[in-house]
């Protein structure tokens, strides 16, 4: 009994005693380095038999190295990762895939390690990969893919996406395509073709021969469908093209000029502007019943509309204030608000797929800028400045912008070129995207595999 009294007294004592212990020291870490994360991409190991089989099928000497190079290039191009030099790797790829010696990878300052294995499986390509957290000494992702061998580049992109997602928390953007207008010839007589390529510039294909002028191709965010403008009897018409099947159709004949068609986020509507009776307004067409609804009605030029991801709002540019500026309104056309108030002209607003930003082109004092601002107009940031650049298009994860840039011509009219460039939201990672011809008006597809 005495024992129990003691225990109860003890508990009471501790409850009654006031708190005045060492306070736990708290330190706020609000800064870090923004250097790309050092990652080791070990070549994917492959057994001799599989190697011989794939050499025959794909004419590629070592598909394991090739796929790891794709992953490496993708991660480097993101600006978020720093793939380490393979010469410094101490562990053989096959052993590293089984059980990495983390001390070795730590020694070369790798914080993450990617290993993999390739096998020939009854005519198919089987790729297995693992992502390791070197400092924690554990595996954090393991996946395998089986596919037709000529899909090997896509396998590299899919691995890149999975690694990107696991290490950043957001979806990747590597297994995607870019549709653009390929341009050839002198500036006054450009031949423009519709073209498509993987996001890294490979597998380029021309979709039209150049007989007709094509403009502003835009991907459907939910499928491999594209809308674009093409001129017929000097009037632009809006077309739909299914990349997967190659079929295309005219969306409709509209009175007057049509501009800047763009899909809604659910892919079921097209928003565009028509010029009619001296004014240009914004219209939405339902693709199922082809009913067209007028959204704005103002004696000014309203164009370049883009839906917010939740489709509740639309951003567009208008000169209703006297100069071209960016506006946001409800998707039914109510509550029109101007959001750009800086010096210069603002145009081509595009709502980010993440919803948090609107990208735009700005012209100020003879220079063109690509920038972003929040949907309420705050936080304007100019990411890049050049002689002439426009038409930003978001990567599906809302992290990178692709746009095109033209160079000045010399006095003889030579030296003109148009190229695709990308830049990430930090504004530091600006990259030229190599294309076979000159290129303009890019649009990024959604992820091919989700």
């Amino acid at each position: 009994m005495k024992k129990y009294i003691k225990k109860i007294s003890l508990i009471l004592l501790f409850l009654i005693l006031p708190f005045k212990a060492f306070a736990l020291i708290e330190i706020d870490i609000t800064r870090g380095n923004l250097d790309p994360l050092p990652v080791a991409v070990s070549p994917l190991s492959i057994d001799d038999n599989s190697k011989i089989n794939f050499e025959k099928i794909l004419n590629t000497e070592n598909i394991g190295s090739e796929i790891s190079t794709i992953v490496e290039n993708n991660l480097r191009a993101s600006g978020i990762f720093n793939p380490l030099n393979k010469d410094a790797f101490l562990q053989a790829p096959d052993i590293a895939h089984l059980k990495p010696r983390f001390e070795d990878w730590n020694l070369i300052k790798a914080q993450a390690l990617i290993t993999g294995k390739i096998t020939y499986d009854e005519g198919k390509l089987r790729v297995e990969f693992r992502l390791w957290d070197v400092l924690a000494g554990k595996e954090i992702l393991a996946l395998a893919f089986t596919t037709a061998p000529n899909n090997w580049r896509r396998v590299g992109h899919i691995i890149s996406d999975k690694v990107y997602e696991r290490l950043t928390g957001e979806k990747g953007y590597f297994d995607t395509r870019i549709i653009y207008v390929a341009e050839e010839g002198p500036k006054t007589q450009r031949i423009k073709k519709l073209a498509i390529m993987d996001q890294d510039g490979f597998n380029n294909k021309f979709l039209t021969l150049g007989n007709e002028l094509v403009l502003t191709p835009r991907f459907n965010p939910t499928s491999q469908m594209v809308t674009y403008l093409s001129y017929f009897k000097n009037l632009p018409r809006v077309y739909l093209l299914d990349i997967a099947t190659g079929t295309q159709e005219v969306v409709g004949d509209f009175p007057g000029m049509t501009f800047a068609p763009r899909f809604s986020p659910d892919g079921k509507k097209i928003i565009m502007s028509f010029a009619k009776d001296g004014q240009s307004d914004i219209y939405v067409m339902d693709l199922e019943n082809r009913i067209v609804e007028r959204i704005t009605n103002h004696p000014s030029i309203d164009t370049s509309p883009s839906f917010s991801p939740d489709e509740k709002y639309v951003t567009f540019n208008s000169d209703r204030s006297g100069h071209q500026q960016i506006y946001v309104m409800d998707s039914d056309g109510n509550n029109v608000k101007r959001i750009s108030f800086g010096d210069g002209l603002y145009g081509t607003p595009v709502w980010s797929p993440r919803g948090d930003l609107i990208a735009f082109t700005k012209l100020h004092q003879g220079s063109f800028y690509i920038g972003v601002m929040r949907p309420d107009g705050s936080g304007e940031r100019l990411l890049t400045e050049n002689f002439y650049q426009e038409a930003p298009s978001w990567s599906p994860n809302g992290r990178i912008l692709i746009f095109y840039r033209e160079t000045k011509t010399d006095q003889e009219g030579d030296g003109f070129s148009a190229k695709l460039w990308s830049i990430d939201l930090t504004g530091y990672n600006e990259r030229l995207i190599e294309t076979e011809t000159d290129a303009s008006d890019p649009s990024w597809s959604s992820l091919l595999s989700n």
């Binding site: 996946l143 395998a144 089986t146």
Partner: protein, 250 residues
């Protein structure tokens, strides 16, 4: 109706890729490396045991049931702890030597009360120090709660350099990660614990998970931490609040 002439059918893209998922768990499920898996799990279990049996239970063990502080003999008990405090490294060494046999004693029902909250015992210590007018030396170690500005700055600067902020994080979400560290006297990390660990595995918390992992990597990369050479008792436990919003907002 005229359509733009297509160069050729563009539908020669490869078929949709089939994806097969390998089961992913906290620990690897490598089907062909069961031995390594078992070995790693065994080692981790052992580490876990050691970690969970650190300082507090050992101190309790030294106070035999009869020595559990009753209101009457409170002063006596506090004096005993004060002795320990003056030699913190000694306590630490003793804790590391806890044997399996001793561990059983840790669960002596008479000691349960002392296990409830270590901080209450610390309360007693401070009270006693104040009451007894501690010496200058003791005051140096005990009276100064927290790190000085220069000490804190040195530690911050070190961790800033080790922390690779994941660049894809959204700046408009509450993503602060709090990590509690138990440090050795040389600044190496004996234990690190994410205080809101449950959030790691909740659906839709990918960004939090990524941030938490980056914070743990920073701590591991940085150790031994640049801690002061004196006053181990003050900083043997630290809480680091990792918040990237300032950096990401630009």
């Amino acid at each position: 109706m005229s359509l733009p002439f297509l160069a050729k059918k563009s539908n020669d893209f490869p078929p949709i890729i089939s994806v097969e998922l390998i089961q992913i768990a906290e620990k690897t499920n490598i089907p062909f490396a069961p031995k390594e898996k078992k070995l790693i799990e065994k080692i981790k279990e052992e580490e876990k045991k050691l970690v969970s049996e650190q300082a507090p239970p050992k101190q309790v063990k030294k106070e035999k049931p009869d020595a559990v502080p009753m209101p009457d003999d409170e002063v006596k008990k506090v004096e005993k702890i004060k002795d320990d405090k003056q030699n913190p490294e000694k306590i630490d060494n003793e804790v590391k030597q806890v044997s399996e046999f001793e561990k059983k004693e840790l669960f002596d029902p008479n000691s349960i009360a002392a296990l409830i909250d270590k901080s209450k015992k610390d309360t007693a210590e401070i009270l006693d120090n104040n009451d007894k007018k501690v010496t200058q030396d003791q005051d140096k170690n005990l009276g100064n709660v927290g790190l000085s500005l220069s000490e804190e700055d040195a530690l911050k600067a070190q961790i800033f350099g080790c922390w690779s902020i994941p660049l894809g994080l959204p700046y408009n979400e509450d993503l602060m990660v709090r990590i509690k560290l138990e440090l050795e006297p040389d600044g190496s990390v004996a234990k690190s614990e994410i205080l809101d660990h449950a959030r790691m595995n909740k659906p839709g918390q990918n960004f939090y998970k990524v941030l938490a992992e980056s914070a743990l990597r920073a701590v591991k990369l940085c150790q031994p931490l640049k801690v002061p050479t004196t006053g181990y008792e003050r900083w043997k436990e630290l809480q680091l609040n990792f918040d990237a919003s300032e950096m990401l907002e630009g």
